[in-house]
Point group: C2
Chain length 365, copies 2
């Protein structure tokens, strides 16, 4: 039974739970396009396998693949990770995938946002994105759960919720004219509330410096629990990230969440600037219409792009002196979870990180 509902989650008593609420499983998509992932995506595939294995220690993982990669993905992944056909244009399950919603009475549904490849025909990262846009429907069909079609261009990485009614996002992305130019901020807030069940929308300004998603919040800041937000940080006043993080910090300290609480902010110092090497850039196919990967470009590396799973946290590491502090800080803030680092440079080279390639399916309870 898979119905497309014409109501909204809020109308039906459904809401998006926090990522740190219990999951049924994690969804991912398999990387393959050689115009985004170097060397025919082989290093990225190994990195995705490492992420999938790290998560599979904590909960089931389902990997969606294009048909032509089915056997390769099956061979590279351990048997406890299911591999199912879900055609896609690239592997960003956070952004192309569904947002699951629950009603607290055992029923799970999903929200299928509109997708335009992070900016549409003029500013999007590739064309076409027709298969990406069908991913939520296909997840709904595999799971046999009902679907809300939201009339809003939105990627999952552009919102975070605390599960109690507070939603965190950025103006740079959600108010960008390359997403929903016909909608006012108030209309966008209304849609966010209707489709996530949130009641309080907190607006940060810009996302991480040079983030090609137009500043997704999931690379900048995230809830560690209701009332506590982790923020990517730098102490280097000359770094272009400094004013962005400082502005985010100032806003976060001024916010009151849906319960009227002020927010505690945990700063996680970013890694040192990471740039694409000439060798890495040369490994990517040059295709017109796809964002090029150029040697020397600074990448939007952030430890905030980590993923909560049942009893665990899977955190990107960069072979950087700040890795250890990031892992220790998160472990101290989340003593009930086991913090696991996964080397993520090859994911970063594709334009995102661990949070961008995962999507949690909550338990219905």
């Amino acid at each position: 039974m898979v119905y497309t509902l014409s109501s909204t989650p809020r109308q039906d008593g459904f809401y998006m739970p926090a990522e740190f609420a219990p999951h049924k499983q994690t969804w991912m998509l398999w990387p393959e396009r050689p115009d985004n992932w170097r060397l025919g995506a082989k290093p990225a595939q190994k990195a995705f396998v490492a992420v999938a294995k790290a998560i599979a220690q904590f909960e089931p993982v389902v990997m969606g693949v294009n048909q032509r990669q089915f056997l390769n993905a099956r061979a590279m992944l351990p048997p406890q990770i299911r591999v199912v056909e879900i055609s896609n244009n690239d592997s960003w399950m956070r952004d192309v995938g569904p947002t699951f919603v629950v009603n607290g009475q055992g029923t799970v549904r999903l929200v299928d946002w509109m997708f335009n490849a992070w900016g549409g025909l003029r500013e999007g990262l590739y064309f076409p994105w027709d298969l990406d846009d069908l991913v939520p429907r296909k997840v709904a069909e595999i799971e046999g759960i009902d679907r809300y079609a939201a009339p809003l261009v939105l990627e999952g990485g552009s919102i975070h919720v605390d599960g109690e009614g507070t939603l965190l996002t950025t103006e740079q992305c959600l108010l960008n004219p390359n997403r929903n130019p016909e909608l006012s901020k108030e209309e966008i807030e209304t849609y966010l509330k209707e489709y996530t069940g949130a009641e309080c929308i907190l607006w940060l300004g810009e996302g991480v410096y040079n983030d090609e998603t137009n500043g997704h919040v999931d690379n900048l800041a995230c809830f560690l629990r209701p009332g506590v937000v982790a923020l990517t940080w730098t102490d280097d006043h000359n770094d272009p990230q400094y004013p962005i993080s400082q502005d985010a910090y100032d806003r976060l300290r001024r916010f009151r969440d849906v319960k009227g609480r002020s927010l505690e902010v945990v700063k996680i110092h970013q890694p040192n600037p990471i740039r694409i090497t000439a060798e890495e850039a040369e490994g990517v196919d040059a295709v017109e219409g796809t964002l090029p990967r150029q040697a020397g470009d600074r990448m939007a590396a952030s430890y905030i792009n980590f993923y909560f799973c049942n009893g665990g946290v899977v955190v990107p590491t960069f072979d950087d002196p700040h890795d250890q502090l990031a892992l220790e800080t998160l472990q101290r803030c989340l003593p009930e979870r086991r913090v696991v680092g996964v080397s993520a440079r090859e994911i970063l080279l594709g334009g995102g990180n661990i949070h961008c390639i995962t999507q949690q399916q909550p338990l219905g309870g």
Copy 2:
């Protein structure tokens, strides 16, 4: 958890239940190839929808589709029928799909036979068949169940079981040198026993006249219950089907099943000869390497190619004077089920019928 097991179902206490045992759901594949299905497969798609709807009255149905047909299939099928991506070369789920096995203790697994498109490079019906051959693995991944890889070329339509240890098949197909030329009859019997759990293999001779599957049993004869077999029949001694059905009848009457019972045989008179019209033949793309559909060719029409589902039986009809008698006979033999006829000429034009396009997944109980 999807493991490929190196043991056999028999070794692990698993067996193939009869089709008339309770199902969890029915699997189908969506037709599309224009070199087999006329008019871009549109009439066939309508017929498949009718079959799927008929089954969905009784139990859940899952339709596997190639990526490019996802939205069309979704639009043509009612919402209670799930549509999932399962790439395939054609739509014969009975033959390319898995054979499910159970252990009577709640666990379901599946057997993944080798597939060579009904005869391999020289005599097969099309090339390639690489996607067909992966269908059972993909079903296993979607369902999260373990898989036995059987080292035997076999299509699901070439065997029927009574669920008590008796298996019915045909020499024309299973002993055909275009299937397993390196294996003796005894070796084939051993594999059948190991992978279906059957203990008693009953060999009919030829299948239905002009059946392009090399005589699949599922168009000729099937169990109605343990000890009772339905057989396609003709009273016309000049019909080429007559000696085939007479030979099958004689063998069936001589057989003893696994329990030592003689078999009751219910004759179901076939429809009058059905031939491909010029208009029908013209609607099929001519592609070298695919079996052509030629005007005047007689098709292997048989009411036996019906499908059991929970509380129902879905039977092909041909707008033929024998339709009513076939439906009445089956209804009389199966009073506990509701017999439903579905007009099936468009499926027959593709080379099979309702049983050929369905595959039951038993309940684990």
